[in-house]
């Protein structure tokens, strides 16, 4: 079943994170509609936890994380899956 | 080598011929001849005729006038126009000038070339709206907070209102400073013959446009010779940043950097003080072998002429006149030379706190007595008072 669903998907979501810009506000994680990202337990050099792309399979590439992020630290987009 | 590009006046703005107009109208014509194509103003007596004429003339010359909601708005609106590429001015008097102070500082900090015309009236506060004074001379230099330098020019006649406001625009462009054109109600409302020459006889300075390309251009990299940076305007692809914060050569804020702040503020002052000899402008009359020197500016220098005549006629006292046209920076060396020769320097001016006289005192450093001859304004000196001061000083 899962395989069939994966086959149907022609697009996948991609999330790019710049940990050094992150200030750990958690808005991206809180408002991600599918729970594709979560806060890392790691710290950046300023001492903030930053998001990580923990569930790529869930990501639809809607890009909301990148629109919300006040620090320009995360960016999500949709990419065509090559056959 | 600093590149200053001189050209001649755009004929569209030049009303060549002889006119019978007052100083305010003449100042407007001078501004148009100098290439001023934008003015923002707010009505205030006794300056309003300058912008009234500008509002009538500019649609035909090609440019813009806007009456803003207050002087604060006017004094920043014109700077927007400058960064869009035009030469611009605002015109006001005492209370409006007080409101403009923050933006004089902004122009100084951002090195925005522009002209502030102040047709002085008596203060403090609302004071004497319809009558003259020269009580804003220190304010024009120091009114905005922090250290900066500016240039003050003071005309004595309508003809000079025309001619010297052209100097004001030219100096603003050369040194990228706000230049204060310090008129007074008397000169502003005095109607006389004003001769406007052919455009090709009017020398005008072009903006110091950079020859660098976007990417290699640094907005606040000074010319090593005269310490003035080169300019760009909005819309040309430079993607530059302008801020009133202390900034580095890129124009980026560096408001917590002591060294950058020190270097910037020193340069803003030194570009005037080190180039002062190129800015000075004054006129001397009978100073070769005078015993008493009258040192004045604007309408007071003109009134002093009669006092000087009286002293010569009645007592045979040799009196010279030293008239500052550029009131700041001052030609210190020449004033010192004269101070060493004369018995006293008398400084008539329309303020009672020796606003210019105290500068002379500082320069002269006791070489001879400096006698402030203040008048509170709302009128001009009686020439008899100047005569009496001369007689007293010559004793």
């Amino acid at each position: 079943m899962a395989e069939a669903a994966a086959k149907k998907r022609k697009f996948r979501g991609v999330v790019v994170i710049k940990p050094e810009r992150c200030k750990g506000c958690e808005i991206c994680v809180s408002f991600c509609p599918t729970g594709a990202i979560s806060m890392s337990t790691k710290f950046n050099s300023k001492g903030y936890h930053y998001p990580e792309f923990s569930n790529p399979d869930k990501c639809t590439g809607c890009g909301l994380c990148g629109m919300y992020c006040p620090d320009f630290a995360i960016y999500g987009y949709r990419e065509k899956i090559e056959e | 080598m600093a590149e200053i590009k001189w050209t001649t006046a755009d004929p569209k703005g030049v009303l060549t011929g002889a006119h019978y107009i007052d100083g305010n109208h003449a100042a407007c014509e001078g501004a148009l001849a100098a290439g001023c194509r934008f003015a923002a103003g707010y009505p205030i007596t006794p300056s309003t005729e300058v912008v009234e004429r500008f509002a009538a003339r500019i649609p035909l010359v090609g440019g813009m006038f806007i009456q803003m909601e207050d002087e604060i708005a006017s004094s920043i609106c014109l700077q927007g126009a400058v960064w869009a590429g035009l030469k611009a001015m605002t015109v006001t008097s005492g209370p409006g000038f007080s409101l403009m102070m923050e933006h004089i500082g902004f122009a100084a900090m951002t090195e925005t070339p522009c002209v502030f015309v102040n047709v002085q009236r008596g203060g403090p506060s609302t004071g004497t709206p319809t009558l003259p004074a020269q009580g804003d001379m220190q304010q024009a230099r120091w009114g905005s907070h922090g250290d900066y330098e500016t240039i003050l020019i003071s005309p004595s006649s309508p003809q000079e209102c025309f001619e010297f406001i052209i100097d004001a625009f030219n100096l603003a462009e050369i040194y990228r400073v706000p230049v204060m054109f310090m008129m007074d109600e008397c000169v502003g409302h005095m109607t006389e013959k004003v001769v406007i020459p052919e455009p090709e006889k009017i020398k005008v300075v072009e903006r110091r446009w950079t020859d660098k390309k976007p990417g290699e251009y640094l907005p606040y990299q000074p010319d090593p010779e005269d310490l003035v940076p080169y300019m760009v305007k909005a819309g040309d692809g430079y993607r530059f940043h302008i801020t009133g914060l202390t900034h580095d050569e890129r124009g980026y804020p560096a408001a917590t950097d002591v060294e950058i702040h020190n270097n910037l503020v020193r340069r803003l002052c030194e570009k005037i003080t080190k180039n002062a000899h190129k800015i000075w402008k004054w006129e001397e009359k009978d100073t070769d072998d005078c015993d008493i020197l009258i040192l004045s500016y604007g309408i007071s220098a003109r009134v002093a002429l009669r006092g000087i005549e009286l002293a010569k006629e009645r007592k045979g006292i040799k009196v010279g006149l030293f008239r500052l046209i550029v009131v700041w920076p001052m030609p210190e060396q020449r004033i010192i030379e004269l101070a060493e020769k004369v018995k006293a320097i008398i400084v008539p001016e329309l303020n009672i706190r020796a606003q210019v006289a105290r500068e002379i005192e500082r320069i002269v450093k006791g070489r001879c007595p400096v006698i402030p001859l203040g008048h509170a304004g709302a009128g001009v000196h009686n020439p008899e008072d100047i005569y009496n001061a001369i007689v007293e000083a010559a004793k």
């Binding site: 810009r21 620090d71 | 126009a81 804020p253």
Partner: protein, 285 residues
């Protein structure tokens, strides 16, 4: 993965050598910048002709972070500076990007007059309900009875209804969103940027460090959730009814005003042409 990772479209707008910016964690200003950048790209505006003018304050720093011709002016005076810029070169696309204190308190007079004149600029007002840069003082947008450092026992005043203020003064496009409504906000900014005349967009944004903390309203995430719950979208709403007097009131968001009328320069050129005839060359058209 065969492809290289794409860049956030906001990157090309940023002076990346100045990142990270000074805004606090969770501050809404950066979110508004994301929407603005996407809106500008969608409009297809020539970035070389786009000017950003800011006043002073947290939002006043936007100009300094955007890689455009950008002007960080004096407190409250972004609009008159923008007026000079636009009138001197009408080919420029001029956007004022500033905060509520800057635009509505010290700059309030300029806001109403620019709207009245219908100067062709877009004003983006990020409203975080207090003065952030100076440490959280009361603003003309602070909710009645909420706490600020200069109203430590609660604000006795009532806040401005900014959309109504702009609309009643003649703005041709007036809208309000919150930083929760990023998609809608982006679409609205496209309209505002394309609109000829004075357009005004208010963006409600969290100030977690000062306003939320002092008033015990939680984190930015909490406020965003609050925005989500309290907001009611009412396009075309009567602006008289969109005031935010108290914190618990519903937040009416949407595009309230979208009318057409000649801008300042249209009127100027028409009147001059009428009176001066062929002697007059239309300015900037």
């Amino acid at each position: 993965m065969s492809t290289t990772l794409r860049e956030n479209p906001v990157e090309q707008f940023l002076r990346t050598d100045r990142m990270p910016h000074i805004w606090c964690p969770g501050c809404g200003i950066g979110t508004s910048v994301n929407c603005f950048a996407r809106a500008v790209l969608e409009c297809g505006i020539d970035l070389d002709k786009l000017c950003i003018v800011s006043g002073i304050g947290c939002t006043g720093r936007v100009a300094g972070y955007l890689r455009l011709d950008s002007f960080h002016t004096t407190h409250g005076r972004a609009i008159p500076f923008a007026t000079g810029l636009k009138l001197a070169n009408p080919d420029l696309h001029v956007v004022v990007y500033s905060g509520d204190g800057d635009l509505a308190a010290i700059g309030g007079n300029h806001l109403i007059h620019a709207a009245r004149r219908n100067i062709d600029i877009t004003v983006i007002c990020v409203n975080n309900f207090n003065y952030g840069m100076t440490g959280g003082q009361v603003a003309p947008t602070t909710h009645h009875e909420k706490v600020a450092t200069t109203t430590p026992y609660g604000d006795p005043e009532y806040p401005f209804n900014l959309p109504d203020l702009a609309a009643s003064c003649g703005a041709v496009f007036v809208a309000r969103w919150t930083t929760y409504h990023v998609v809608q906000l982006t679409k609205t900014l496209v309209k505002a940027l394309n609109k000829k005349g004075f357009s005004f967009v208010e963006i409600l944004a969290p100030c977690p460090t000062l306003y939320l903390r002092r008033n015990k309203l939680g984190t930015s995430v909490d406020l965003m959730k609050y925005f989500k719950e309290k907001s009611v979208i009412k396009h075309g709403a009567n602006t008289k009814e969109v005031g935010l007097e108290t914190y618990d009131k519903e937040i009416i968001v949407g595009e309230f005003v979208d009318i057409d009328k000649p801008d300042y320069l249209d009127n100027y050129n028409e009147i001059m042409k009428k009176r001066l005839g062929d002697k007059f060359q239309p300015w900037g058209r």
